[in-house]
Amino acid sequence: MEIGMLPISASKRGKLLAAGYTTLHSIATTSITHLATDIEVSESEALEILNFATRNSALERSSGSNTNVIQVGGQTAWDMLNEERFSSSITTSCADLDNILGGGINCKEVTEIGGVPGIGKTQIGIQLAVNVQIPLDYGGLGGKAIYIDTEGSFMVERVLQIAEACIEDMSEYSHHFHKDNQAYGVKMHPNSILENIFYFRVCSYTEQIALVNYLDKFVTEHKDVKIIIIDSVTFHFRQDFEDMALRTRLLGEMSLKLMKLAKNFSLAVVMLNQVTTKHVEGSFQLTLALGDSWSHSCTNRIILYWNGDERHAYIDKSPSLKSASAPYSVTSRGIRNSTSSSKRIKMV
């Protein structure tokens, strides 16, 4: 193995393997602090190992003009492509919506979802917090969720309803595909789903910022968290904020931290946003709140809106997904496909 090529002690080699570093590349692309915590050595020792790793992997690729090789922490686009193939997504329980999202809400990305009151933002948030826990056997991530509630709209009764419906769906699925295998009973209980949602309630924007800063430590201790939902990111920043420049700065910092969290821990960050009206070309239009500079902060932006009597989701901004809109509905079991017969995914 490549690790064997490193001039380090056998115990350190053992620790590297135990922590999951099997190739030089995986060491070279991690940061010093992560390496130090993962294999429990001091930072200077970690730096040493890192240098050996980059030197060696540099030697592998030095053929050719590209001597400007992997800087510590950087990645080539080819490596990213390979990673992205395995990157996971969390289903929304609505097939049409999953389709336009390319499988679901992507991990390692920050997705913003906004809409008018009553369109279903909190419902989608709760559905995602439940769906992230779907076990690997059923195509889910088997992870936990962090739910940051700024408005108090997280109602436990509803989470229970959605959790129960999710378990029922999973049992049905296992009946279909594993009719012969008796052992495939769904062993999840709605209470265990509730147990895996870490709920935080913040009551002011300072608390919100403090919490986001603290999340790094929290997720390091709870590595199985795979989604962070903030419902809503807007509320405390809309009330009573006089200094708009300060607000823009704070929001920018917060979104950078969240993006970093998403990338470092391979989790999905979902931010729910409210709407406001803005005056454009002589008429009033709806737009997501928090201003123009905020609209740059997220990777993907989904707008939920009413199209006649149906709820639709529209991908407003995404580096990889096509602008499309899909219908969905909110039922007593959670978010599901829309039942109208004339549904079609509109490519815009």
């Binding site: 008018v116 009151p117 009553g118 909190t122 419902q123 739910y147 408005e151 108090g152 709209s153 997280f154 109602m155 436990v156 009764e157 509803r158 989470v159 229970l160 309803q161 209470n191 509730l194 147990e195 895996n196 949602i197 870490f198 709920y199 935080f200 309630r201 913040v202 009551c203 608390e207 403090a210 919490l211 603290y214 430590k217 929290f218 201790e221 809503s232 807007t234 509320f235 405390h236 809309r238 009330q239 009573d240 409210q274 709407v275 406001t276 009206t277 454009v280 009033f284 239009q285 709806l286 737009t287 707008i303 809106y305 009413w306 006649g308 009597d309 149906e310 529209y314 039922t331 815009v348």
Partner: protein, 334 residues
């Protein structure tokens, strides 16, 4: 199984103190539910005794969140509030909260005579006992602030009673009158409203009581409904939505307020029949219940409710003026 409070996580003392001071504790959703079911009376909901509505709301008006009643004048918002204050002051063995009620009556609509009438007609066994009427009416405290700042002061004072666990329900009738009477321009009004909304919400949150607010309506200005920019592009090319001449009203206080309330009950009158609709609720389907106002308060005509699809549920109608004035006639007959 123990999930840790922040102070047990071994953070440096300074950070832990800040968090504790600002009240950030983490909880697993399961613990939340267990706590509420165990500790709170009636599992965290105040039953309204309107069977269909209570079922849709998973038990009744939920604790700890803001519930808004919005509708045109004379539709029955204050009647609903009167009934709720009575229900909260009822003894626990009769399905009440046996607590004090603070009724913030901005427009001087509170009628104690009507309160007693509702009480004697709805709960005759309780009210005919000697002294019960006095005891229950004695639990309802009416405040009449004349300005937003006076209102804020009263709220600060209420906070203390809430801490002492005596107050079980807070009713603000009406929020719109407080705010709209104050400022002229939109921006400062929005800001003042914003501060008050945050404060009331945090009050609801840490005291875990139901807070009910009433709101007024205003007519819809401009053309149909607001749209997003991407909708406007495609809409201009199609003309398939027929122009409706159905005039309707919208809730006052703006879209920011609409986001801030957790549950919105719309009361309206359509073709002479009154409806109470669950326009915004994270725990209920969008249902509309027809109702009437009788001597014992609001009475649902159909407990099953009509499911309403689409944004129509947010529209507020005020048709059938005769129906509204019927109430006056009924009242005087009693």
């Amino acid at each position: 199984m123990a999930n840790k409070l922040i102070n047990q996580l071994g953070l440096p003392k300074s950070i832990a103190n800040i968090f504790a001071a600002r009240n950030i504790i983490t909880a697993k959703a399961l613990l939340l539910m267990e706590q509420r079911v165990r500790n709170e009376s009636l599992a965290g909901h105040l039953p309204t005794r309107l069977k269909g509505l209570d079922e849709a709301l998973c038990g009744g008006i939920p604790f700890g969140v803001l519930t808004e009643l919005v509708g045109p004048p004379g539709i029955g918002k204050t009647q609903f509030c009167l009934k709720l204050s009575l229900l909260a002051s009822l003894p626990v063995n009769c399905g009440g909260l046996e607590g004090r009620v603070i009724y913030i009556d901005v427009e001087s609509k509170f009628s104690s005579k009507r309160l007693i009438e509702i009480g004697t007609k709805s709960f005759p066994e309780i009210f005919h006992k000697k002294g019960m009427a006095q005891e229950m009416a004695g639990r309802i405290m009416i405040l009449r602030p004349t300005s937003l700042s006076e209102f804020a002061e009263s709220l600060h004072r209420i906070k203390v009673s809430l801490l002492q666990q005596q107050v079980k329900l807070l009713i603000i009738d009406s929020m719109a009158a407080l705010v709209l009477g104050e400022h002229d321009s939109g921006a400062s009004r929005q800001q003042a409203l914003g501060w008050h909304v945050s404060f009331i919400k945090s009050l609801a949150e840490f005291s875990r009581i139901p807070i009910v607010l009433t709101n007024q309506v205003r007519s819809q200005i401009g053309d149909e409904s607001l749209m997003y920019s991407f909708q406007a592009r495609s809409h201009s090319t199609k003309e398939d939505t027929p122009v409706t001449f159905d005039s309707h009203l919208v809730a006052a206080l703006g879209i920011n307020w609409a986001h801030a309330v957790t549950i919105r009950l719309v009361l309206e009158s359509k073709s002479g029949q009154r409806f109470i609709k669950l326009a915004k609720s994270p725990i209920s389907p969008p249902l509309a219940f027809p109702f009437n106002i009788t001597a014992s308060g609001i009475v649902l005509l159909d407990d099953n409710g009509i499911e309403m699809k689409g944004p129509e549920i947010n529209n507020i109608h005020c048709q059938g003026q005769n129906a509204l004035s019927n109430y006056e006639r009924v009242r005087h007959q009693l």
